[in-house]
């Protein structure tokens, strides 16, 4: 166990193992997203109520899932960084945040676009959309806080603390927004709120979700490896590596 953690400590080891894992996740992401796209767009049956506009679910829901997972993994990386001082964890957290914000934006955008045929308006203060909007602000807060410090160590630790505070608050925010929404009860239904989808509908959704997760892992590996090069550029092994690549 400790040997493993000590290995994780070493950016060099992460750089090497990341290089080996990365192609696998890229291939998985490409294949899953491709299959999910074709299946979801062309083969899944249209919804009996919403018609073909329902196909937006195949980007809206994976993006929303991924955005929330990214915040949680960012907070976990923050915890690992604060407890074990593993620098790679912080680098990964720093690289995840922009993707998380982008995914939150995608889910908000697709939700808004979906709202036009469903509700007849671009924006509805729907419980899910509202909590995604708050999540976007949380992401922006973490990114802005990291950028505000001039010392990298302080920036890392501050971002870690904020991510952890945020992750404790996310379920509270989610439940309170849900309650707030049911309390005010506008006369609409939630766009993704219905259970019991037939298999032909949720199978492509599952594939898309897995594809988005693979994409996230692959991209985080890649960008973390870049970040290692950036932060460790004074280390001997990084220089040797740059020498080899010539």
């Amino acid at each position: 166990m400790w040997a493993f953690i000590n290995k994780l400590r070493s950016p060099k080891w992460f750089y090497a193992i990341g290089a080996r894992l990365q192609p696998f996740f890229w291939v998985a992401a490409a294949a899953l997203i491709l299959v999910g796209t074709v299946w979801g767009l062309a083969f899944a049956p249209a919804d009996y109520q919403q018609g073909n506009s329902f196909r937006i679910i195949y980007v809206h829901v994976p993006a929303a899932f991924l955005a929330q997972s990214i915040f949680v993994s960012m907070a976990m990386c923050g915890l690992v960084y604060m407890v074990w001082k593993i620098k790679v964890a912080d680098m990964a957290a720093a690289m995840m945040a922009p993707l998380g914000a982008a995914m939150t934006f995608v889910s908000l955008f697709s939700g808004a676009v979906w709202g036009v045929p469903t509700w007849g308006t671009w924006w509805m203060w729907d419980a899910r959309l509202t909590s995604m909007l708050i999540l976007l602000f949380l992401f922006l807060g973490v990114i802005a806080l990291r950028g505000a410090f001039s010392s990298r160590d302080s920036a890392s630790r501050a971002a870690s603390v904020l991510a952890m505070v945020g992750v404790i608050n996310i379920p509270i925010i989610k439940y309170s927004v849900d309650w707030w929404y049911t309390l005010h009860q506008p006369a609409t239904f939630s766009i993704t709120g219905r259970a019991a989808m037939p298999m032909e509908m949720w199978a492509p959704l599952l594939i898309m979700v897995l594809g988005f997760y693979s994409f996230f892992i692959a991209l985080t590996l890649m960008r973390t490896r870049s970040e290692i090069l950036r932060r460790e550029s004074n280390k001997r092994w990084v220089r040797d590596l740059a020498g080899e690549k010539r």
Partner: protein, 79 residues
Amino acid sequence: MAFESFNEFIAMGGHAPYVWAAWGVTGALLVAVVLHARAERRLLLRNLQRRVRREERQGANRGEMAGVSHQTGGNHHDT
């Protein structure tokens, strides 16, 4: 197959602007993110190589070891 023809597929039962806008933005964003990551990596590697080469030259000129340098920004915090 949920559609009879390709044109029907494009029309999305009248919901074309919404479906294609949502998918388009998502796809564009995913592609942009990958391209950005690749460009970032290339730039880093190039800068690193340039730096190593420069320091090798300087080291050879002065007969010193290519040691710690602060010529490139962003390394002040590493010890």
